[in-house]
Symmetry: C4
């Protein structure tokens, strides 16, 4: 299967912007995307499972189950703003192969909906951060870069790991333009301050007028979800150890 | 190939329940499924091999060979009970990719036979266990959860690894309902007490009337089979070490 | 690609026996197969490359190159004996997935040529061996087992790793009968004595009348080939360490 | 996807030679290919991305992004020389499977353009090197080997890792002829001296008349590119450590 996609609705969108918000460094994008979905009352329209996700289910507090999944939401006809596709999820793929496949499939869907612009959010890991963490950026082309710089971002120097970097690169191959906004973070916990910076910039660029006062709730929800999947350890900064191949056996 | 499936018979079943019983924590499901197959005289109808199983054969005591395999059995027209599909095997897949593929293929077959309900059994690893180990549960939806709670299970909090968790999640994507019954176990040996608890609950839910007095024999058979594949070490609690890539060479 | 197959000739064979002779424990099968090919003047008819082989070429003494490869040979109309397909090569696949794929493709070819019987040779690793190493066997079915036991083999108890075990198992799924002959070996070097035992038994079973006096030459050729691929280290018993993912880089 | 190929132009070439120049030992081929592209003003015509490349983007000094990629260039109607296809890139694939796939796809393209000859360049790692490093060679066949020996190369004894070896082997399966030129190098840094030797030989064989005075610039550009991808560590000889599976998470 690699990716199993279920599309619940094919929205008609007008030149939408794709915002990537999967878990990554400092969980900046993941918090920001969740907050956007809530504040903009975005509509859920597609879900993606990949055989490169973890092979498990986690339980909810009420005895339900939750699986590793990526989900797409949209907003349209926003007052004064562009239509949006928001890419949220509780995991990225575990293998390079899975990452390319996942990214390719989401870009397929976005392209089909008329999307040619992508914004990826993320953390830029630092040993120390200032109170107002700096935003860095990189873009598909000089013209788009200028737009990111105009938001107060500085030019990023380094590597953009995972889907945040991959989707800019694979997008460009299809003629997408786009930029990454990467906010300074210690990267060791869901970083609500960094997410606020990222959202402020996105707010400005997309004319979103999203209220950021409830951002702590999105960070807390993100923390709980990722803890349940073992991606964040409860109360520690410890990295998840690579699972044994025969993990299901004892 | 990924999965090679050989279907020996296509049974006509009436709204059957799929019971997953592969080796996992404490081998609870594996013992229980074997016992069900024996006691219900279930009919073997399909076998599945995956390129994500181990690449070896093991010998039987009498010079025969046994391969890593999953098998499907059915029972129908049981006096007072629903038709069943029992998913048994001597291994799960070694990779995440293989797990998703295996699970998807078995759900394909089950769906084709009219199945929309899955029960997965398993162990819930604990440092200590009481004499009558507690059953925990998680379900695809609140209504189904209630059925599991009615069997005396408590709400599970944690991760359900491997096929037991995956099949609930992938099933839900296809409209399957279902629950996991996870019994407390040390997880270090084939746990006949935990399997007895799981079977008692399944007995009650499915109106099975299966005699549990011969369960030790199923546990002993399970232990021997898994030892022959090196999944359980003879007389130890040691985990199987990851095989070298060139294992076939010396 | 996984497997790229080039068939140079489609021989018409009469109910042939497939003899597997890839590198494995003690290189027993590899030496035996090479000797058979030479002594029977078997005809080369197919070659298989797999993306699960090593990604390299090795040089010959004369500046040529050799690649990881599997090759099929045949003999037909032998005086008093059955037609043969001999499966030789300088490697098995590096991954479980690759092993299943490779094995499946060779069985495809064999089946198409009318083959329904497979003999796999191999080493059975022991800490100590006697001067005349014992042969052990396992078979697809009791009738075939009896044929192997009649050759002086004892019933094998244990695991048959790699293609030697896999091809018996995957073959049975297609209706192949067959047995494995596994000879005691220290497993640390190309073991000419073990290969001699294996060939003696094969000679007897297949009515081959192959002269074994030149077996040392086949062992030496096998050692040189496998050394050039780094599968045997020059002058040591050391196992090959897993290659770094970025091995091509420094 | 495995490989995503974008062909921008299908040049009409006359019996072209494919020159492989990916990063490898001492980065000999990578420097040499870049220099050829610049000096011959070769035309870019195809790009290849693979899901076996790293899943990241790196930033350029000016805020742009660069992705792991392979690119094909051509030159035609050169005064007195054969048409060329130059295979350049900032990475090889991370897995054996990916290497075979990548190599197969490039050979597909080359074959379609009428190419039947391949030259692979590379480093031959030594503990010490002389001032004028020796060139070693291996070839698809004796006739082609003679051509390489005539360039002053000695017969290579050893393994040719990665695409440099693989493409000779996979090429031969399709009827390509070709040779590898491997220059002695410490292998720990982009080795401009070794690249000069390789290019001198290629110059001679292909009647290229390429000026080698600007080779330092190509080496410096290669070093910077590979540093940005983390393939060369800034100022050290350290190998890149295998990335954690969940690298994107902290």
């Amino acid at each position: 299967m690699v990716c199993a996609i279920k599309i619940h609705e094919k929205p008609k969108l007008n030149n939408p912007v794709l915002i990537e918000g999967l878990p990554g460094i400092g969980f900046v994008a993941n918090i920001a995307a969740l907050h956007l979905i809530r504040e903009l009352k975005a509509d859920f329209f597609a879900e993606i499972r990949s055989s490169s996700f973890q092979d498990l289910a986690v339980t909810t507090e009420t005895g339900g189950t939750r699986s590793p999944i990526n989900q797409l939401y949209y907003t349209k006809n926003r007052d004064g703003g562009r239509d949006l596709i928001i890419w949220h999820g509780n995991t990225q793929a575990l293998t390079t192969f899975g990452q390319y496949e996942l990214c390719g499939r989401v870009l397929d869907i976005a392209e089909e909906l008329g999307c040619h612009f992508i914004i990826t959010l993320g953390g830029f890991k630092q040993e120390e951060i200032t109170k107002t963490p700096q935003i860095y950026c990189a873009a598909s082309d000089p013209e788009t870069l200028k737009k990111a710089l105009d938001l107060g971002a500085k030019v990023m120097v380094g590597q953009i790991f995972g889907i945040a970097g991959l989707s800019i690169g694979l997008g460009r191959l299809r003629g997408f333009k786009g930029f990454s906004l990467l906010v300074e973070t210690l990267g060791t916990h869901p970083d609500v301050n960094a997410a606020r910076q990222a959202l402020s910039a996105a707010n400005k660029f997309l004319n979103l007028k999203v209220d950021l006062s409830g951002l702590d709730a999105a960070a807390e929800k993100t923390r709980k979800t990722l803890e349940s999947f073992g991606i964040i350890r409860r109360g520690t900064k410890e990295k998840k150890k690579e699972e044994s191949q025969l993990r299901w056996f004892i």
